[in-house]
Symmetry: C2
Subunit: 315 residues, 2 copies
Amino acid sequence: MAKKFENSINVFAPATVANLACGFDVMGLAIDSPGDEVHVEFNRNKEIRIRKISGDGGKLSLDPQKNTAAVSIQSLIDDLHIDQGFDIYIKKKMPLGSGLGSSAASSVAGVFAANELLGRPYSRRELVPFAMEGERIACGSAHADNVAPSMMGGIVLIRSYSPLDIISLPAPKNLMIVVVHPQVEVLTKDSRAVLPRKIDMSTGIAQWANTAALTAGLYSNDFDLIARSVVDHVAEPFRASLIPHFEDVKSAALFSGALACSISGSGPSIFAFAEGKKAAKEIAYGMQMQFKKNKIKNTAYISSVNTKGVIKLKA
Amino acid sequence: MAKKFENSINVFAPATVANLACGFDVMGLAIDSPGDEVHVEFNRNKEIRIRKISGDGGKLSLDPQKNTAAVSIQSLIDDLHIDQGFDIYIKKKMPLGSGLGSSAASSVAGVFAANELLGRPYSRRELVPFAMEGERIACGSAHADNVAPSMMGGIVLIRSYSPLDIISLPAPKNLMIVVVHPQVEVLTKDSRAVLPRKIDMSTGIAQWANTAALTAGLYSNDFDLIARSVVDHVAEPFRASLIPHFEDVKSAALFSGALACSISGSGPSIFAFAEGKKAAKEIAYGMQMQFKKNKIKNTAYISSVNTKGVIKLKA
């Protein structure tokens, strides 16, 4: 049977929660929704073009050199030494600047789609560096803690960047993630700027004890251990003040039964871990009420760990 | 059948390798040998007495307030609110001040033996805090990264001290530990003094990425991952210069096939991880040759992970 080549593809790349508290800058996970829907098709003029972006409130540039999906595809075709052109249509179905890896989702969607259309020369894992180039445009540095989970699904650990060493960690089945996104703006550069360049050795020791413990908790399905270890000594103490009512929302999450609660990526979204769907719903309600009480519009997402990552959608 | 009460007991508490490179101050493992043999018996005069210490070259005090085994037992009987006396006989079958947890082994042996004689009021895990009191006398602080593995066996992670949270990590069956102890003196206080009080955030990030990765490697029996992650960015760079020819010995270990190599505890012993016994022997030979070449007497120990910890010996 001859392989049927396609000229176009629709894909969905999920939002991601990076850091996971103790895993600052090295861990991330994919959630089921929200995410980006991206349509990519071949064109004949050898250019990569952003044809349309919806759902971004007009905030994103159509200039392919400034768009993460276009940059990631460009990085792929440069590597393949081909000059294929692509037309890209992006439906942002997630908030921008939310700490949920919006730019990473577009970047992943773009390069995954192009790779599929080209007959899949690369594996998902191999595509991560191309998607990281998209992130570089958006964030100024080629981080992988959003890109890798959006691409590969699941919970990932970025052990090293040179060489790139991505480890998939197991996701306990009953582990639910609650994410609440408040409609406030926290600039990534501000949330970077508040972090100290140096930390006390004792702080570091506490952090890596927890990082190891969280890893053990994930492997052993030990929800108590996950709860004890998802604590951030290095970023949350500094970033919390950038998110209005963070402490109240965190307290509400824990009071409502969350295993743990911290900042998603560089914020302002706040995530909580829960055991089971019922608990997750109560936690989401508790967190949302805190924001509502303070007249801050917000959206909650409840999800298990998305183990698939970016997927092809039906045409 | 009536329970036969014993008046005396012989126990063996194993040496331990603390830190395991990336797990600085939070990880440790027990090895099969060397270790301490300790005989403990009830006495009737309500005092804890050190009756004899052999194998220490006369370096250890017979004053029970300065002896880790006596202090750990005192801490236990204080907790139990009894005034039972014990006579303690210690055979140091391991080098002192070697970075192999000598003081911890005596401390563990003492309190384990007394607990057995008293009808086992506490579990091994519950005995750790008492053994830590012995460590406090020896080291000035109540660390658990030698005490916990010597008591409980296996590879342990100390997630937190308040509350004390000890996590047993799995030990891959074929994982061998080579320890080479050079006859040079490194004072614990010196090896503490060379450490910086603060570390760069980026250094911390690299360290906790590795700590998580090592944990993943242990759970998944991934020797390649263990090899990549057993790297220490925070202590080894500063302590290496305290151990003559450390870099040469480490290079020899890696050249001979070691998965990884770093300082055992605060040194001067150097440990290496190996996959399988044959590799371990070659690595030990390579490491010893480097010391020998430089006219430094040394002893090598080859062991799998000792999963039992302290044990009762036949009378």
